[in-house]
Every structure is written in structure tokens, then in C-alpha cells.
Symmetry: C2
Subunit: 146 residues, 2 copies
DNA sequence: CCTCTACCTGCAACTGGTTGCAATTACATT
DNA sequence: AATGTAATTGCAACCAGTTGCAGGTAGAGG
């Protein structure tokens, strides 16, 4: 739990209580790489403490999302995925709507878009983790020749 | 139905059958302005033909989405909204995660982003109708002084 | 250490959306 | 106009996610 101290402080300062359930959910997300569904997190926490409820998982993810400690993304697979936001290592996804291939998109493109929007409208977008749907090069080719 | 002829032809050429249910769903979307939830479309169709099933509405919205005749957008209100895509009149939304205010975003910003991505990666994004979450100017101010 | 209260939890009921299946229907072919 | 078949429909059962509520707990203050 040692490396969690900072996060715990951030949450407490925002007026949130640190319950054992929350600490377990937090820990599951922080020590994992990549995206997880709510159910995956639920299962992992339940292995340690079998009485958690799935609604507690969703509610905790909700407060973490509101504080922008985790990102919530619809990857087009049916259920929503959550990921711990690391300042370095920001990334986005290009998802082909035909073949479902997922490619990465450099953060810079969206960083620039966010800066433009902020400068011109005053609105500050959360550019944490985007999923952009479209057609990959291969599928464009295929539909041209079909 | 006269003004629908072109759309009907597009669908038939893609191998889809034109059932009365689909024609009613199509007509409801085409003659409406703005975003609608699946339930709103369902209710409207049901007024004319009470035996449609909600799953038929979702499935039809699915094929229309796949053909990019309608856009599907999560506006953060819980349920997904659908809108007939009109080439002119493209627009996007900036939604404040604190006060839920919705502002419009000019299509140009995203058009440019889409062109950049296509040029550099070959992936062609569907830039039909984005909802970008963040903090409006007022709420940024409020959280600074809080 | 005890008290108090606002926040949090688990439960159960609910809403939005999806899926497998048997029966039906659009429409291409003859 | 009759036939064949693949797509589509309605139904029912299901999965993902949300919400109201009564009881429980973190943690601030005394």
C-alpha cells in the first residue's frame, strides 16, 4: 500500500472516504497495465474480499473518473474499459469498424486539438483516452475493389 | 416516401431488405431534427404500428450506423442518441462534466484532425458526431477559487 | 476514547441494450 | 405468378450498468 500514499491523500483532500473496498479497487487498477472492464476489476477484488458488490465497483470507478485518475473508454466491444491514467504514456486508439483492428494514435494530435479548443472557446477538454472509429487502410482498399 | 427513394436504393444495393418496420424507422429519423434516443424512435414508430419490437429498432439503427447514415453518440446522459447524418450541418459537442452544459464545436477542428490522421497513418476516421467532455470556462473558474 | 454525521456499502429492483431462436418475409430467379 | 433462400422479425432470456434505500463505517471534533 506504500506507493499508494499520494493517491490516498488526493482522494481524502477531495472529501472522499477511504474504505477497504476502495483501496482494493484502487490497488487493482494501479498495479495493472492496460484496460480493464468493470467485471474484471470486480472479479479481482472479489478474490480477496468476496462480499463486494458490483455497484460499489461502478461507484468507485465513477469517483475516480470524476477526479480524472482513471479514464473510461468505449472500445466498441460491448463493454466499457477503465485504465489508470499515467501522465507519461498517454495514448489513444484507432479502431477499424470492419475488421476491429486496433492501432495506437500518438497523443500529440489530440493534445494540439485540445489546446486549440481551449484557446478559442475557453472550454478545457479531458483528453485522456480517446477511441476513434473508422476504416483502416486495408479495409478501405477492400471496399474500393468490392 | 418520395424523398426517401435515394436512401432506399443505397440500402438495397448494400444487400439490405426494405421492410415496413425499417421504412418507418428511417422516416422517423429523416424527418426529425436533432438527436433521438432509441426509445424515442421506438415510441414514434409504435404509434403507427404497435407490434414493432425494440430490438428491431436497435438492429436497424445498427445497420444505418454501419452505413454511416446515422451517427451514434453518448452525450453523457445515460442513453445513447442517434441522428441522421447530413453532410452539410456537421457538428460536434463540448459537454461540461460539472454543470452538464452543452456547447457546439465547429466541424473544422475535427475535419483537420481527421485529414492529418489519414495522411500520416492511412486510417480514415469517421468524424460524424463527436461528444468531447471537459470543463467549461465557468466551472474551471469555480474550481480554481474553491 | 467516544460521539456524531455525512458518506459509503450491499441489496434488490430496475433500465438500456444485446442475443439465440423459430417463424416469417423481401425479393431474386425462374 | 410460383419458388427458394437468406435476411429480418418478435419474443424471451439475458448481460451491463444505475438507482433508492436502510443499515453501517470513516474520520472529524470534542
Amino acid at each position: 500500500m506504500s506507493c499508494e500514499t499520494e493517491t490516498v491523500e488526493v482522494l481524502r483532500e477531495a472529501g472522499h472516504k477511504l474504505t477497504p473496498q476502495r483501496l482494493m479497487i484502487l490497488s487493482a487498477l494501479r498495479h495493472a497495465e492496460g484496460h480493464y472492464t468493470a467485471t474484471e476489476i470486480y472479479d479481482q477484488v472479489r478474490a480477496e474480499y468476496p462480499y463486494v458488490d458490483i455497484s460499489t465497483v461502478y461507484r468507485t470507478l465513477g469517483v475516480l473518473k470524476e477526479m480524472r485518475l482513471v479514464s473510461e473508454t468505449n472500445m466498441g466491444t460491448g463493454d466499457t474499459t477503465y485504465e489508470w491514467v499515467r501522465e507519461h504514456r498517454r495514448h489513444h486508439h484507432l479502431i477499424c469498424r470492419d475488421c476491429d483492428t486496433v492501432a495506437s494514435l500518438d497523443h500529440q494530435y489530440l493534445e494540439d486539438l485540445g489546446a486549440e479548443i481551449l484557446a478559442e472557446s475557453g472550454f478545457k477538454p479531458d483528453i485522456d483516452h480517446f477511441a476513434i472509429f473508422g476504416l483502416c487502410a486495408t479495409c478501405q482498399e477492400r471496399s474500393r475493389t468490392a
